[in-house]
């Protein structure tokens, strides 16, 4: 269970990217985050695993306050929070397998991992995850030799290596074409439904929200403007979220 309470983030330049945001993500839910670009979706997701330090508010993770965790505790918390990025964020010059194994860095002993040594079980597990997302044959290629869709699968495999309890997906399909988008979303859906992993996914297109999300929260200029079921987004709500001039296409 993830609870976000009165979360506010003000960047150094003075931009208020999040403004008093409060919501819960129950265990096992597929929660979509929508909003215009610049509305604070990425900031919200990055606050949850403290890639960004929030200015005010609390984030409770199974009752533990993430915002108060020290670096060592953070390492322990982060390894249970997988993250998938819009631009995949793979290390281009490393092998696919190394990229996937990197998901174990929070678990392995730092001293050994510095020598690029991972336990045998982790190696087997990495291949298994690649199998699961359907690109086991690419394990020994360089990450930048893969297409966008394949790179995102590596990103998902890396997150799966963490044995995550929650996956934060920051517009995971925004850089992919619609067909690929669905195949990636289906992987996330399967992880959510089969493994019971909570998914917090920011999305651009409403049709994807309708198709995959259990619940939706919407941000507008850092404020939470909607919280409810996808089906509850009517024309009025739509205009609240996306602004007066927006046209519904999806």
């Amino acid at each position: 269970m993830l609870q976000v309470k009165n979360l506010t983030k003000i960047y150094d330049g003075g931009v208020k990217a999040l403004n008093n945001v409060t919501f819960d993500a129950p265990k096992g839910q597929f929660l979509a985050v929508i909003g215009l670009s610049g509305s604070g979706k990425s900031t919200l997701l990055r606050c949850i695993n403290r890639l960004i330090d929030p200015t005010e508010g609390q984030i409770l993770w199974n009752g533990e306050d993430i915002t108060a965790a020290n670096p060592e505790e953070m390492r322990r918390i982060r390894r249970k929070i997988g993250m998938v990025f819009q631009h995949f964020n793979l290390v281009h010059r490393s092998k696919v397998l190394t990229n996937v194994l990197a998901g174990r860095l929070g678990y392995v002993n730092p001293a050994w991992s510095l020598l690029n040594r991972f336990p045998k079980e982790d190696m087997a597990k990495a291949l298994q995850q690649l199998e699961r997302v359907g690109i086991a044959d690419k394990a020994n290629q360089r990450a930048d030799e893969l297409s966008g869709g394949q790179q995102q699968r590596v990103g998902i495999a890396r997150a799966l290596m963490q044995d995550p309890e929650i996956i934060l997906a920051d517009e995971p399909v925004a850089s992919l074409d619609p067909v690929l988008a669905h195949s990636i979303m289906k992987h996330l859906e399967e992880i959510n439904k089969k493994d019971g992993v909570t998914v917090l996914c920011s999305l651009h297109f409403l049709d994807l929200v309708h198709r995959y999300a259990d619940r939706v929260i919407a941000l507008n200029e850092g404020k939470l403007v909607f919280e409810g079921l996808p089906s509850e987004i009517d024309d009025k709500k739509f205009k609240d979220i996306y602004g007066r001039d927006a046209e519904r296409v999806g």
Binding site: R76, R93, G106
Partner: protein, 614 residues
């Protein structure tokens, strides 16, 4: 109607005047520059200058590289001084080989005769002498003439007969030098070869040393990696205290381990035994003390036991290092004695062993320093998290004062050591009190729960030192090192190495600053710690620019190493400068040629490699 454009430049007399003045100022600057740099084309036109220029240029065009072995062959022709009664008829010479004739074959003392030679080696020369007496092999010679053969191998010289009248036949001897066999390298060429090898290796060592040390420096000189490093004041103070304490303790401890290994220093089998055994023991210890993966936290006893095992393991590893040093020294000595022309391999081993033996305690000190500092830092971190603000404030005051005093005290000690001031007010109590007060003030103005940006402090300090050192020319550094370690290539390696470290660290760190932040973020998000993030997200991204900068530096180092000898830093520059000073331009020319060849070929090789790998 067209609106007047406000941005359009209006011409005004003031503007023209300004331009005129600027041109005038430029002229004055350049005129002054000519005077300062003593530009004087008259110098070029002066007769004397041109003559020496021609002489030097010709010498430079004939580098002293090859020489022939030369043989001197003497040819004689009979001559009568004062013509005898029979008119001085002489035998006709043997014309099958080179031969010499004298015409006329008799003359009065002081008269001129013509000595001609035929069938000699073209363009050779040699002395023409008068040999008194009836023996053509007589060692006494008179006169001072030289014969030089033309393109056909013939010559003709007019010589004046000496006042040695005799009834007997006397001789004219022409001694001609002739090249035999294949061309050989001159001594200059051999010296040049030795020195050019030294030069290349000087560049190689400096580049290697510089690269290895510049890499870690480049990380702490990169803003994007250091910016997020923040810690509470207690933690900073404790880790600051940890460094000197750890270095001292570690140095003493490892030196003590060194004395333990001394009794077996001379015994090669024992050396080998330990060199084989200690890595095995160490890796077993490491494997046990640092399990590859742990899902749950171990209990206290295991943790303490692990720490003890780790400690012993590290001591064992250092013992092994000392034994390795002894082994290298012993085997090296054997090699020097027994390998003949490969003795340099033995010497290399010996030096390597020596380096290990000297650096191991230093390494131990640094390792212990960093371990203690990070341990204390973490303890401070934990204390700051758990304790109440008032308690933290107390700790802050205590440790910050202590750390400030220690830091300044050490600085005072350094000043004392350097300048021998000898007044404890300035070098002991003064710094201690000032440092302590500074720490106290910082502790008082920081809020107990605040963290300070340690990373940026380290960043700025490193940057400042790098920039400062980088502005010192490698040649100047070489002068300093020549004073410190004596004339020779070692000083050159140190100077070039240091310059390489600082300039590469700067270039490298700029590369680190320009990596993509995405992968960095992704690796951090997995729960990786700082070091893991560097290894998995930073290093893969910076490999290509690092390689290309290292090669670029290699080019520079090859160039620099050719001239670092000018100030005594070893390499070919030393020879070159010597020969120029001795006006030995043919030798200097050989060295310049060697430099040109080496620089050009290294340039070619590195550009080829760069194309291939970057």
């Amino acid at each position: 109607m067209k609106e007047p454009n406000k941005n359009e430049k209006k011409s005004s007399p003031w503007k023209s005047l300004g331009t005129g003045l600027a041109v005038l100022a430029g002229l004055i600057v350049y005129a002054y520059g000519f005077q300062i740099t003593k530009i004087d084309l008259e110098q070029l036109r002066s007769e004397r200058r041109q003559e020496s220029l021609v002489r030097v240029t010709r010498a430079l065009a004939q580098p002293d590289i090859f020489e022939y072995e030369q043989v001197a062959e003497a040819f004689t022709a009979p001559v009568y001084v004062t013509c005898p009664a029979d008119g001085g008829i002489v035998e006709a010479p043997d014309t099958s080989g080179p031969y010499v004739t004298v015409t006329p074959s008799c003359a009065e003392p002081g008269e001129m005769v013509t000595v001609e030679g035929f069938k000699f080696v073209p363009n050779s020369s040699g002395p023409v002498r008068f040999v008194p007496g009836s023996d053509p092999t007589n060692v006494v010679e008179l006169g001072n003439d030289t014969a030089t053969t033309d393109a056909d191998g013939s010559f003709a010289v007019a010589i004046k007969l000496p006042k040695r009248p005799s009834d007997e036949v006397q001789f004219i001897r022409v001694t001609m030098r002739r090249n035999v066999g294949t061309p050989q390298f001159t001594q200059t060429a051999r010296d040049t070869w030795n020195k050019i090898i030294e030069t290349v290796f000087l560049a190689l060592l400096a580049t290697t040393l510089g690269t290895i040390l510049a890499i870690p420096l480049s990380f702490i000189a990169a803003r994007n990696l250091m910016k997020s490093v923040r810690s509470p004041l207690t933690s900073i103070s404790l880790s600051l205290l940890g460094w000197p304490l750890g270095i001292a303790v570690g140095y003493l401890l490892v030196s003590w381990v060194g004395t333990l290994s001394a009794p077996f220093a001379e015994n090669i089998p024992v050396n080998v035994l330990f060199v084989v055994l200690t890595p095995i023991l160490a890796s077993l210890g490491l494997r046990w003390a640092l399990p590859e993966e742990e899902t749950s936290k171990p209990n206290k006893t295991t943790q303490i036991l692990r720490l003890i095992v780790l400690f012993i393991t590290v001591l064992v590893a250092f013992y092994g290092l000392f034994q390795l040093a002894h082994l290298a020294i012993n085997v090296g000595l054997l090699g020097i004695a027994g390998l003949g022309s490969l003795a340099f391999l033995g010497n290399f081993l010996f030096q390597l062993g020596d380096i290990i033996a000297i650096t191991t305690p230093v390494l131990g000190g640094l390792a212990t320093g960093s371990a203690l500092s990070s341990f204390l830092g973490r303890t401070g971190q934990r204390a700051s998290e758990r304790l109440a603000p008032s308690a933290i404030r107390l700790l802050n005051i205590l440790f910050a004062t202590l750390a400030g005093a220690t830091l300044f005290g050490l600085f005072g000690w350094l000043v004392e050591w350097l300048y021998q001031i000898g007044q404890s007010v300035y070098v002991l109590w003064g710094p201690l009190i000032v440092g302590g007060l500074l720490g106290l003030v910082i502790a008082l103005i920081t809020k107990p729960k605040d963290t300070l940006s340690t990373g940026m402090v380290i960043y700025y300090v490193t940057r400042t030192i790098l920039n400062g050192l980088r502005s010192v020319e490698a040649l100047v550094m070489a002068i300093v090192f020549v004073i410190a370690v004596g004339i020779g290539p070692f000083a050159g390696v140190m100077a070039l190495g240091l310059h390489t470290i600082v300039s590469l660290a700067k270039l490298y760190s700029e590369q680190v600053e320009s990596i993509q932040p995405g992968p960095l973020e992704a690796i951090q998000a997995t729960g990786a710690n700082r070091l893991q993030t560097i290894i998995y997200a930073v290093i893969p991204q910076i490999v290509p620019p690092y390689i290309s900068y290292t090669m670029y530096r290699w080019d520079i180092n090859v160039r620099m190493s050719t001239i670092i000898g000018f100030v005594g830093g070893g390499g070919i520059g030393f020879l070159l400068q010597q020969n120029i000073n001795l006006l030995n331009y043919r030798a200097a020319s050989a060295q310049m040629l060697a430099i040109a060849i080496v620089v050009a070929s290294m340039d070619y090789i590195s550009s080829m490699l760069r194309e291939k790998y970057v």
